[in-house]
Symmetry: C2
Subunit: 249 residues, 2 copies
């Protein structure tokens, strides 16, 4: 029933969310256009989404390097929104606070790529499936509920108390699952995420998302590491894990 | 869409698990009979289940009073199994360790009461639903997966880092849900759980489970507090929350 690689079987698949499971760029652009369009007449919602996302790693880095205690991603996203407005030389006092809070919820209203629900519906027959995302729990719940993503649990940074790619985010997630790291497979569209997961002892699966950053994407178009599985989408992932489990049955 | 009591709407329902959602006594008795029957010829599996459960609160109390750090319930259950065997004057060395470990997984193989799945399937249309149980995450995942319980997330003691009825277990769960305590309703078959939830600011719903402790049950047969909802089962709970939400719509 389970995929065997080496001595131990994979029992759980954990998924990066932003980019791997959901199309954050399109979803945030839509939310920003709806919420902020009337306040920002020259708004390019995709450029705004890219700017907002560009503050993501720097904000988490303050938590990872210990210069501030762990705070959930909703808080970082809201701070980053103010940062983006400042960079665009918009006075945030020109926009009501509740409008900015509502814009922040754009990150809770992201839609999955089309292959995600059918793929996960197959994968959850044989594996525990959960996000291992830097999203906070409520964000991931809202994303899952709007699209009926069949997660078995919501794991990730908030439960682990650490942001990827900190080793603790991967190791503690395996502990919560009651599994050794090698019984857990990280699925991500980002080679850096998989490198950190592999260094923590997890198995790895790369699924390319060449449209994550829009038409001009240059990063993560192909696997750059020695990952256990490389698949074109979640259907391909399910196909490969099913054939592996037959070989080892 | 949501139930309004006072000023704020309930957005999430959180559930006690052992007794309220699942019939732990029957499930543990079945597991114990399967695993330990050949080693314990005079075993009464229901008596054994009751003895095992009787060590539950004392074991958690060591964590609650700070005399030991938080450890997940699987660890406490395994220690308590040794305690029960000692009380029955069984030398645990007479039983292989892997048999005892397997017996401990009886707590992962509990079945829900018959009204649970249909009730939760209705409730999850209008509310975030999650266990707020002292079970660890993996235990709750295994219980949910075998019966396809449609939780939106697995919350509870391990995520909160505190065992009920510690106030922190309730307050931190509301925080993870991004909600004020009064936007969260605790559903339980135990008046003591609801009293602690209410003291922490949560709404409360009592669902009696008169067979939880078998035919001779004397406790928690009726509500003893001023709970927001009292229902005979999860169908009744769904009925009442639906009619409340119509009144406030």
């Amino acid at each position: 029933m389970h995929m065997g690689i080496g001595d131990s079987e994979v029992e759980a698949l954990v998924f990066d969310m932003f980019g791997t499971v959901v199309d954050w760029r399109e979803g945030v652009a839509t939310g920003v256009a709806d919420c902020l369009g009337e306040y920002l007449p020259s708004l390019d919602p995709w450029e705004f989404a890219d700017l907002w996302r560009s503050e993501y790693q720097p904000a988490m880095e303050q938590v990872r390097n210990g210069s501030r205690p762990f705070v959930r991603l909703d808080v970082l996203h809201r701070e980053n929104l103010d940062t983006v407005l400042a960079r665009l030389e918009v006075d945030p006092r020109m926009i009501p606070a509740q409008v900015l809070d509502e814009a922040n919820l754009s990150w809770h209203r992201l839609d999955p790529w089309p292959d995600v629900i059918p793929g996960l519906t197959r994968l959850c027959q044989d594996f525990i499936i959960a996000p291992l995302s830097n999203a906070n729990v409520r964000l991931a719940i809202d994303v899952a509920k709007r699209s009926q993503i069949p997660w078995d649990a919501i794991l990730g940074a908030e439960v682990a108390g650490a942001y990827k790619p900190d080793r603790a985010a991967y190791v503690r997630t395996a502990e919560v699952l009651g599994l050794a790291p090698e019984q857990v497979m990280m699925v991500a569209a980002h080679n850096s995420d998989l490198a950190a997961a592999q260094a923590a002892g997890l198995r790895t699966a790369f699924v390319a998302r060449p449209a994550e950053h829009g038409p001009g994407q240059t990063s993560d178009l192909a696997p750059t590491g020695d990952w256990d599985v490389v698949a074109v989408d979640f259907a391909g992932l399910a196909d490969q894990l099913a054939s592996e489990s037959q070989e080892t049955a």
